[in-house]
Amino acid sequence: MEFIGKIFVMAIAAIFVQNFVLMRFLGLCPYIGVSKKLDSAIGMGMAVIFVMTMASTFTWLIQSYLLIPLKLEFLQTIAFILTIASLVQLVEMIIQKLAPALYKALGVYLPLITTNCAVLGVAILNINENYSFIEAILNGLFGGVGFTLVLILMAGIREKLEKAELPRAMKGMPIAMIVAGSMALAFLGFSGLKL
């Protein structure tokens, strides 16, 4: 029972209180770039959840069983980014094979998951926070869920915004940032939660 409680606390913390996008500022490029349409937002979100979970798993293993025993911790950044790049390549090949339509919709953003700072960010955070193996995997998973949640919310808002009357200068990117700001303000409310 205690274990389930702990998982629940981690989920709430990673999804709401310390949301990767709105509170930690990680993964903003896809958040602004892929949130124009709901379908592609959902696809991108799923891909990111998968990659973040896998990346947390593998980078934790590499750090604990390869880098630390060999005293190569200074290679952390290079080792992690290469792991993530290979994982993304793998996901790309799988999606291309299984769901060509989704692959077309995600287009350029799929290879860009490599440079999504949420993925490398979660990997480094797991190490910095001294998470255990299970905690690291869960942190990756829930971090990805939190990312997907705000991405989908944002896509929903932006689809409506398309039809709104706005000053010309605020159209597109500027209003997206303001909307993100309002969402961050709402999410700030969660920071009062005592976990």
């Binding site: 200074f74 290079i78 290469l82 605020m170 500027p174 999410f187 700030l188």
Partner: protein, 193 residues
């Protein structure tokens, strides 16, 4: 030649015009000191990686050029990380996670791919320097607004009278997004005219 250097400041400013490198921009712009530190660290990586990539561009097979570029960038980021930890530990600590994350700053890979992979060494160096300083400039502008509004300070010095009640939200997460959105809108308005 001069154009390669100055285009990064305003016309092709990586942050305001091209909307690249948003994560570090918003995350470290809560104080001017952090913004300048981050900007200079990124500039160093950008210049070095641009030089290196333009030197090796002819030997790297096209299929693996992105992973090769990333390794080059990651090596320079590791150097910056260690140097900063040794000489400016306080700044290193407050930038924290965002120093290793320079690796995934889209400005750097973007310039490598769009410029350094196609141009000679000298031009690539100027491009890196210009873009890096443009990034630093953008960060400093946002940080100045946020620090003055949110703390009444500039570089840690009190600039507004102490009777000013700090708008705390400006240095929290929402303030970053809103200041950024308004600045982007202003840039767009200026361009339209």
């Amino acid at each position: 030649m001069i154009k390669e250097f100055t285009k990064g400041f305003i016309k092709e400013n990586p942050v305001f015009v091209m909307a690249l490198g948003l994560c570090p921009t918003l995350a470290v712009s809560s104080s001017v000191m952090n913004a300048i530190g981050m900007g200079l660290a990124a500039t160093f990586v950008l210049v070095c990686s641009n030089i290196m990539i333009s030197l090796i561009k002819n030997f790297v097979p096209n299929k693996i050029h992105i992973p090769a570029y990333i390794v080059v960038i990651a090596s320079f980021v590791t150097i910056v990380d260690m140097v900063m930890e040794a000489y400016v530990p306080a700044l290193h600590k407050s930038l924290g996670l965002f120093i290793p994350l320079i690796v995934v700053n889209c400005i750097i890979l973007g310039r490598a791919e769009a410029f350094a992979g196609k141009n000679n060494v000298f031009k690539s160096m100027l491009d890196g320097l210009g873009m890096g300083l443009g990034f630093t400039l953008a960060l400093s502008v946002i940080a100045t607004i946020r620090e003055i509004l949110g703390a009444g300070q500039f570089l840690g010095m009190q600039v507004l009278p102490t009777s000013y009640k700090p708008m705390l939200v400006a240095i929290l997460a929402p303030g970053a997004f809103i200041v950024m959105g308004l600045l982007m809108g202003a840039m767009k308005l200026k361009k339209k005219k």
